[in-house]
Symmetry: C2
Subunit: 457 residues, 2 copies
């Protein structure tokens, strides 16, 4: 709890309207995509870099925790006030400040919604590739804080690969600028990428410069249904091994397909054990050649149905199943935990086998969605958070899952972040020395530990 006098000081920085502390407001900001609730002491919504700076100076002086939050769609608990404090939100700072087609970049405020940026740059024949599933609500600031990925990652990489520069407010209130509009920049330590994926623990982004690329003129979409999961996994390897770099290469397992079918999201053959949704984009001639080649790979490796289309409407219909998946799975039980185990792509079938084995061992209902092209898996665990006994089994299964992923040369998180959700697993991936280095870096930026404390470190 903060005192009324202090609340008034915060209010005086942003104006009465932009400091919220009614019980309803606090409840709204008490959770993110990760489920446990932590009620903040207030919510502040700055309108400028200067206001952020003044907020931080006050918070630093009074040792008040500040937790930056985009749209709160992250599913690792990296935008909640676990140790109390004030949530700082960015819906007032949601302007695209500049689209610079000649230099192929854009400068945005942190609160710009990803899909809005995509749409605006599309008018210039440009594309901002990172496409997290949350893109219609999640913000660029949040995307940078979490280093968000998405289905297009297999060809285009993740948020980090498109981040050129930052203006960031340090916990002290000081404003630093890193990077800029140039594609190449090797001056000093790479603070830009250090802050990318730092989950709101190092600084608050007040301005973000991102790289854009030419919008690919053509696209082909393929859907291939397999009666054997291993055939689908082999096809993934064949495509990747052939030198084709697909834009997306999504895999859904039998459980997901069953749920989508029941939900009325799409029709699949009863023998369907796995589905691949594949896209290639680029120049028209290229897309034609690669689309046909992928179709052949699928058929040669036992696909029982293959559809290929260049029509945007048909493609939309094929994507419908993928988009329905999460909602369809989530409605089966009160809660759905989305995991993020990631392995080198050739271990894909091994990690899928491990997940199936864990579901059996711990009597859990797990569906598998995967960005198969880059080894990034999303096991969806259907559960009920109130069932403590089942939650205890899930905890054990997750521990085994991440141990297996790390043993295969993988990582705790491909694109969702660590946050509260996976803090306890950090020592699986990092030695004590590496964690101490991270803690030291945190102290350099934030000596009083006021910025999103209680997160992954």
């Amino acid at each position: 709890m903060i005192s009324t006098a202090l609340a008034d000081e915060f209010r005086s920085i942003v104006g009465e309207r932009w400091f919220l502390d009614t019980p309803e407001d606090l409840a709204t900001y008490s959770y993110d995509g990760f489920l446990p609730e932590f009620k903040p002491d207030g919510v502040i919504i700055p309108g400028s870099t200067d206001e952020i700076s003044r907020i931080m100076r006050l918070a630093n002086r009074e040792r008040i925790n500040i937790i930056p939050r985009g749209a709160g769609t992250n599913i690792c608990g990296s935008s909640v006030a676990r140790k109390g404090g004030i949530i700082i939100a960015f819906h007032r700072m949601n302007r695209i400040l500049e689209i610079d087609p000649e230099n192929r970049c854009a400068v945005v405020q942190p609160g710009v919604v990803n899909a809005d940026l995509q749409k605006e740059v599309g008018r210039y024949g440009l594309m901002y590739p990172p496409d997290p599933a949350s893109m219609f609500v999640s913000t660029i600031g949040g995307n940078v804080a979490l280093n968000a990925g998405g289905p297009r990652g297999v060809k285009y990489g993740v948020t980090r690969d498109y981040l050129l520069g930052l203006e960031a407010v340090l916990p002290s209130g000081e404003v630093i600028k890193t990077g800029g509009k140039t594609l190449k920049n090797v001056s000093g330590y790479d603070l830009t990428r250090l802050m990318c994926g730092s989950e709101g623990t190092l600084g608050i982004f007040s301005e973000i410069t991102v790289r854009l690329i030419p919008l690919p003129p053509a696209k082909a979409t393929l859907q291939a249904v397999f009666s054997d999961l291993d055939d689908a996994a082999t096809t993934v390897s064949a495509i990747i091994g052939s030198g084709i770099v697909p834009t997306t290469l999504e895999l859904m397992d039998r459980v997901v397909l069953g749920v989508i079918r029941d939900y009325g999201g799409a029709e699949f053959s009863k023998e369907a054990e796995a589905l691949l949704l594949i896209e290639v984009d680029g120049e028209e001639v290229l897309v034609e050649v690669q689309g046909k080649r992928i179709e052949r790979f699928c058929k040669e490796r036992g696909a029982i149905e293959v559809e290929r289309t260049n029509s945007p409407e048909e493609a939309e219909r094929l994507w419908q199943a993928r988009r329905t998946a999460f909602g369809a799975v989530a409605r089966l039980r009160p809660n759905c935990i989305v995991e993020d185990a990631t392995v080198p792509v050739k271990r894909l079938s091994d990690i899928i086998r491990k997940i199936v084995e864990l579901a059996d061992k711990y009597q859990l209902k797990i569906a598998i969605l995967a960005h198969a092209g880059d080894g990034n898996l999303h096991p969806l665990i259907m559960t009920d958070l109130r069932d403590r006994e089942e939650m205890a089994r899930i905890d054990k299964a997750l521990e085994e899952l991440y141990e297996a992923a790390i043993a295969m040369g993988g990582t705790l998180s491909g694109e969702h972040g660590i946050g509260i959700a996976k803090a306890r697993f950090m020592t699986m991936e990092f030695s004590q020395s590496a964690i101490e280095i991270m803690r030291g870096i945190k102290r350099v930026f934030d000596p009083n530990n006021i910025l999103n404390p209680g997160s992954f470190l």
Copy 2:
């Protein structure tokens, strides 16, 4: 100077043969591509991670400076013992440990030469894109330390974009591992990219995992000669603006062309004021379409000669001029200083105009080579380091050049690094707060400041 007893301790770690301290050896390691000389107190050549770790533990205990050095081709003075100490070199650790075609990555020791890696991965139909001009001698360890770029950067990016993971020895002797074989990894702070480009000041790389991409099946090379530099610059903008992403887009100015002509490197029309060397790569159909389109752009914008070829032999002939350029320019005067100003690509003609103006103002002979596609310029200043009066003029010109580049939204270094060469300009690009953050990070990794001290911080 280090004591005989201490030298013996270092010797006992690596074996008699691998600790050098004869005057000849010290002279060999007293300079890098940046010219001033600093004699080290010894040179040590470890054969394993464990030996590096023992070296660092001893150095840390005795407060002996250690300066990591690849092939010493960097031109910013980031691999010399400016404050005394021992050079650590890696020619014993030059093995490619693994090429993993299914996961499209390779694991190498730091001393592997860039071109050797390129050649080996080529056998698997794969490519390691970063191609610094020094690639036939420079090492992957050095490339990572400097975050090296190269002509292909305009399409493929720089070393950072292909770095997946590191094993690094900290000044304390502790070994940390960061990243790995997965394309996506967002666990904890991004120590991998923080160490990339850190110029040997944070840790010593003992194992490096890099990302590979499919080798493009076809390539087209074009050379276009212009009688007006502005026409060449407009053509660069037209190509970039058209949505084509060329593999390389190199520009040479009149001075460079004149020198190459005199040197017998190639023939150009007497009216030649600028030359563009352009490559596109990818699927054959694509290369054909894009090659023709670029040829048309060049002709429409006043090119007086255009050659286009798909033949590797012809391409080699066209590259000959670019490759001759540096050597040809360098022989005109005793020394040649290569600068690295980088601006957003649409300011290309502005910065070129500024360089021409500075050459005139300070009576300097400056030739211009540019990776024009990404705004990364290499002004070559022909001089004689012994001429103090001229060196003073160069100092002033450089200060104005970098002030102008920063004012245009550019950076001190696109791909060469800061090192000793540009340490004094850091405050042009970074605020005191940002520099303090960098110093703080340095202290976290290296509290006794023994790793390449006297470099850019």
